[in-house]
């Protein structure tokens, strides 16, 4: 060992040039070594190492112990831990070996402080083994004659060292070979086990730091045996239908070990095991009869064994074997119920008898057939009717009445006790009270309060309520002393209709029903809401109830949620029975979003959004606006009409002022020849108030002056002479105004108000005698309605104009459209005019009004009233004086027409070149 480490250490030193001085030998020798060599140290202990230098190196290398330094894994050991023993030996001490590491090297500082390695050792630190504890052994039977003993123990703490464990066992006079564990340190298996001899067993743990031994266990291996389970188990049925006999073989002979047994069994399909009482199987055996079993039931059996005295361990359970007990008579009659269909005729029943197949432990075999017996209790003479049925239902056609149905199930061994069902004519007995349900885990408990009368039993019907199919009735019978039962097979989130009938000895009570859920959930969908009617501030919402499949529970309420686009949501809760709701206080002409939520006890589900827009106007609002407006309009119109009607004279006066008929001018009165006419045509008669008079103008072309005689033109010459005085004066308001102020007359002609300002306006027509080119224009006469007293000159001219008027009948005439009175008054005038025209044809000297505006004459209407025309007309009006100068002449020429002229008419002279009204 030393030489090996020597070489290893030398390997460390080669590079440090610490070599043997005898290089020729080829071997490298270290200049020192460490004692102890590769120690194994207990963790936590102290440790001292010595580095011893070779004497040969002292002289050659000039090195001494005082130059030694110690290192642990290239980490310098503090010099406080060094001690120079002599010039060749240095020691280092560690108070706690846990600070140690590998390698520990001895080095030297040579000349120039060059560190050179002398030697190194490997230090192993660990712990001595602990005493193994909890040693226990078990003997496994692996074959009929083969047993192995496995012992386990607690090896204790980790030692960090290679620790050997040995399981040792011996007899007092014989020590057996040790059992050395393989790959583990806490168990070992011994194969050559001998029973009936106390064997001493113990464990030894050994490592470099020590040895530990467990407590000694003295035991007879036979007392710690775990035998093999019984084999070849078989089951056979006996004569009795409640007994099965088991047979098996044991692996261990009685000579070695007497056994006791455990037998367990269960019904096939059941998970719960039952055990035969242990005292029944506490002795050695190879068979056992299991009693108290159900007839015609398949059982599973399993057996285990152990040493009879209870020392040792139970074997594993044997393989499972099954056996079936033999049949027995059915232990009870099948539960029976009925459904009576009276849809065809109340007097003729279709009775659907139905019964439940007996459970296996009730049937005790294979049910071969059912025997149904029907007895009409209302008629003692009617015979019994018997039916043999193989199914579990039977339909009968029976007349209405009371029947007793008896049902018997029969198997190969015998018949069951009978089940009796009384079918009364009517369910007139008292029903159950306070029917209620309560979910219990996966069952639905149905409870009720019993009627006062004694009840034989109750029939509980239930069915899954569906919107798409009929109720498929299930039923169950409970005894009369029961106040509630658990319904099994109830699905969660489904609505069930449960009905309970009490059955009495002499009749049957009416059924009481209740709807129930085993478990509720929120609806699977929400209601789809829509509007039925939308108004200005309200909307009628409608929806359909959720189907029962969608409800998943009892709908407790509907919730309507509506809002505008940017408004807060408003929530309204609605009774679940309703399918319509009216939203009120809505904003008109607004888009609303509404959705509906159905709620059960376990949550809610919202339906799709629906949007609608409220109307801008409410119902009847348009009518409320339009009708009054129309009525008001009509009223106003009516009032206007009435007003106009009442004021028609005034209106007529303003709109169609009475235009004095020139032919009725007062000028005519001026004529001495027609003074009498004034008597016939008074001013009131001729021009009643408010009458209108159309004016027609007859133009007389200037070119036609040839047609005028010289006499006729004389007056125009006079006008011409007066031109200097009248020119520039517009047409006046009558002779008086014209005479008084020419300027005043101009303003009067421009503004119609003038006529209104005066109490009696003066209307006038103008007769313009327009000269052609440089010719002297004709004299123009206007009519006037002035009430002002005529000036003397006017009166005189009027007298003249009256004669002129009558003389101008052939060239022009006036048509007057006025009131009826006026018409009546005018008509004679026109007629008169015509007559005059016919009478005075060819005599144009004494004309009243003439307009000479070209070669053709044009009639003049109301266009004269236009301002422009008036203005133009005013320009062409001649001074009244000119007219006045003419009039006496014309009057003199045609005295007959003067009688019809109005008094207010003022003939005016049209200035030369004046405007001709169109």
């Amino acid at each position: 060992m030393f030489s090996r480490w020597n070489w290893v250490a030398c390997g460390f030193c080669l590079m440090l040039n610490i070599c043997s001085p005898d290089a020729s030998s080829g071997l490298v020798q270290s200049c020192g070594h460490i004692i102890p060599e590769s120690p194994v140290l207990a963790l936590g202990s102290n440790f001292t190492a010595l580095c011893i230098l070779n004497e040969s190196c002292l002289d050659f290398g000039n090195i001494y112990a005082s130059q030694i330094i110690w290192k642990i894994k290239n980490r310098l050991v503090p010099k406080e831990q060094y001690r120079e023993i002599n010039r060749t030996v240095s020691s280092v001490t560690f108070n706690d070996t846990s600070a140690l590491a590998t390698p520990l090297t001895c080095n030297i500082l040579a000349d120039g402080q060059i560190e050179q390695n002398i030697y190194g050792i490997t230090v192993t630190v660990g712990l001595p083994p602990e005493k193994p504890k909890n040693l226990s052994c078990i003997v496994h039977q692996v074959a009929r004659f083969t047993y192995v003993m496995t012992c386990t123990w607690n090896p204790g703490r980790h030692t960090f060292l290679d620790t050997q464990f040995k399981l040792r066992y011996s007899w007092p006079e014989e020590i057996f070979p040790d059992c050395i564990p393989k790959d583990v340190n806490n168990s070992c298996t011994i194969t050559d086990i001998q029973f009936f001899v106390n064997t001493e067993i113990w464990v030894e743990a050994t490592n470099a730091l020590g040895k530990a031994e467990s407590d000694h266990l003295v035991i007879d291996p036979i007392d710690i045996v775990k035998p093999l389970p019984p084999q070849n188990v078989s089951v056979s049925s006996g004569v009795l239908p409640t007994v099965l006999k088991l047979f098996w073989e044991n692996w261990i002979s009685d000579a070695v070990m007497k056994l006791k047994f455990n037998i367990r069994y269960r019904i096939v399909g059941d998970t719960n095991w039952m055990e035969v009482p242990s005292e029944d199987t506490a002795s050695p055996r190879t068979s056992f009869g299991v009693q108290g079993l159900r007839p015609y039931t398949e059982y599973v059996f399993s057996i285990r064994c152990m040493k009879e005295d209870g020392e040792g361990y139970w074997s594993d359970w044997s393989e499972e074997k099954t056996g079936i007990t033999t049949e027995d008579k059915p232990s009870k009659g099948p539960p029976i119920w009925r459904i009576i269909d009276t849809s065809h005729s109340p007097a003729s029943w279709t009775v659907h008898l139905m019964w439940k197949a007996l459970k296996p432990f009730e049937a005790n075999g294979v049910i071969l057939q059912y025997e149904v017996t029907v007895r009409d209790k209302s008629s003692l003479s009617s015979p019994l009717k018997k039916y043999n049925v193989t199914s579990t239902n039977h339909t009968l056609q029976l007349p209405e009445g009371t029947y007793e149905v008896t049902l018997i199930a029969r198997n190969s061994v015998g018949a069951s006790p009978p089940s009796v069902l009384l079918i009364p004519a009517s369910n007139s007995k008292a029903p159950v009270k306070n029917l209620r349900t309560l979910p219990k885990h996966d069952k639905l408990w149905v409870g009720w309060t019993a009627p006062n009368s004694y009840v034989l039993k109750y029939v509980i019907e239930w069915c899954l309520v569906s919107s798409s199919s009929d109720c498929n009735i299930e039923w169950q019978i409970a005894l009369g002393d029961v106040k509630g039962i658990d319904l099994k097979g109830i699905k969660p989130f489904k609505c069930y209709l449960i009905t309970v009938y009490p059955l009495y000895a002499d009749g049957q009570g009416s059924g009481q029903s209740v709807k129930a859920y085993l478990k509720q959930d929120r609806p699977s969908k929400g209601p789809t809401v829509q509007t039925k009617k939308v108004g200005k501030a309200e909307a009628v919402l409608t929806w359909n109830h959720l189907t029962v499949e969608e409800q998943n529970g009892f709908i407790r309420n509907y919730t309507i949620l509506y809002k505008t686009i940017d408004g807060n949501e408003t929530v309204v809760t609605v009774d679940p029975s309703k399918t319509e709701y009216t939203l009120s206080s809505l904003t008109s002409d607004t888009l609303y979003t509404v959705r509906m939520m159905a709620s059960t006890d376990n949550g809610s589900r919202t339906g799709p959004d629906f949007t609608f827009t409220t109307q801008k106007f409410g119902k009847g609002e348009i009518e409320a606006i339009v009708v009054p407006v129309c009525l008001a309009f009509l009223l106003i119109v009516l009032l206007g009409v009435l007003f106009c009607f009442n004021k028609r004279d005034l209106i007529k006066k303003h709109i169609w002022p009475i235009v004095p008929d020139p032919s009725k001018s007062n000028i005519a009165q001026w004529s001495p020849q027609v003074p009498a006419k004034h008597n016939f045509n008074s001013k009131d008669q001729m021009y009643p108030e408010g009458s209108f008079t159309d004016v027609s103008v007859v133009e007389i072309e200037a070119d036609d002056k040839k047609s005028f005689s010289e006499q006729d033109l004389k007056p125009f010459d006079l006008l011409k002479k007066e031109k200097s005085t009248s020119e520039g004066h517009s047409s006046g308001i009558g002779g008086s105004s014209c005479m008084s102020s020419p300027r005043q007359s101009v303003s009067d002609s421009d503004e119609g108000e003038t006529t209104q300002n005066t109490s009696s306006t003066v209307q006038y027509s103008t007769v313009v005698l327009n000269g052609y080119r440089d010719q002297t224009p004709l004299q123009v006469f206007s009519r006037s309605e002035s009430t002002q007293p005529l000036l003397d000159s006017e009166e005189r001219s009027e007298d003249h104009s009256g004669g002129a008027d009558s003389t101008a009948q052939r060239q022009q005439y006036f048509r007057q459209n006025g009131g009826q009175d006026e018409t009546n008054t005018d008509r004679p005038c026109f007629e008169g005019t015509k007559q005059i025209t016919l009478a005075g044809e060819g005599d144009l000297v004494g004309f009243v009004q003439l307009q000479i505006s070209g070669q053709s004459s044009q009639p003049l209407g109301l266009g004269m009233e236009k301002n422009t025309q008036e203005a133009a007309l005013s320009n062409v009006l001649q001074t009244c004086t000119e007219g006045q100068t003419v009039r006496p002449e014309t009057v003199e020429e045609n005295p007959l027409s003067v009688d019809e002229m109005p008094k207010s008419y003022l003939p005016q002279t049209v200035r030369q070149g004046g405007y001709m009204p169109q």
């Binding site: 006079e173 029973f195 009936f196 001899v197 070695v256």
Partner: protein, 194 residues
């Protein structure tokens, strides 16, 4: 009764009980071993074999008149002889078959252990009787003369048959010893023993 309740009495009873069961198991194992041995060695199960030298006969006259110590001593002598014979058989078996039939060898070794254990039981019972345990005679019985292979097989068959009979007798002997003495609490035979 007081003696019956003493530790030595309990130990004796336990030793007897354990010895009875050991003898019973030894009997069963030897019977099984006999079948295997006959088959393995190619012998006839009905072959007659002469008495094995050095082994006391199991069948004795006036068995019920024997004392307890006498029974124990005869049993001890017989099983010591069987231990030596079985060890020799095991060695011969290994020489003949090597490891070819380890099962038979293991069975022989197991019976050998049982014989040793039963001898230990007998020795313990003799100690309880305050009787000295006779020492084994030197190196045991003189080595048997060199036998032929067939003779070895026959002798082995004889040893096993005799061991089976001794196992039966030992059960009876220990049951007899286990019976409590009405007077002294000791086995009646022991008082009569010399």
């Amino acid at each position: 009764m007081a003696a019956a309740d003493s530790p030595s009495a309990a130990l004796r009873r336990d030793l007897c009980s354990r010895g009875i069961r050991l003898a019973g198991k030894m009997r069963a194992d030897v019977v099984d071993l006999l079948d295997a041995y006959v088959e393995q060695q190619g012998l006839d199960a009905s072959a007659s074999v002469a008495a094995v030298e050095g082994v006391p006969l199991a069948a004795v006259e006036r068995w019920d008149e024997q004392t307890g110590t006498q029974r124990l001593l005869e049993n001890l002598a017989a099983y010591r002889a069987f231990r030596a014979l079985l060890a020799q058989m095991l060695e011969e078996q290994r020489e003949q078959l090597g490891e070819a039939d380890a099962g038979l060898g293991r069975a022989l070794a197991a019976v050998l252990l049982q014989v040793s254990a039963f001898a230990y039981h007998l020795e313990e019972l003799l100690r309880l009787e305050s009787r000295g345990i006779p020492g084994e005679e030197g190196d045991g019985p003189p080595p048997p003369p060199r036998l032929s292979l067939f003779e070895q097989k026959l002798r082995g068959l004889g040893v096993l048959r005799e061991l089976a009979q001794w196992a039966v007798r030992s059960v009876r002997d220990l049951r007899q010893l286990a019976k409590p003495s009405p007077a002294t609490g000791a086995a009646p035979g022991l008082a009569e023993s010399p």
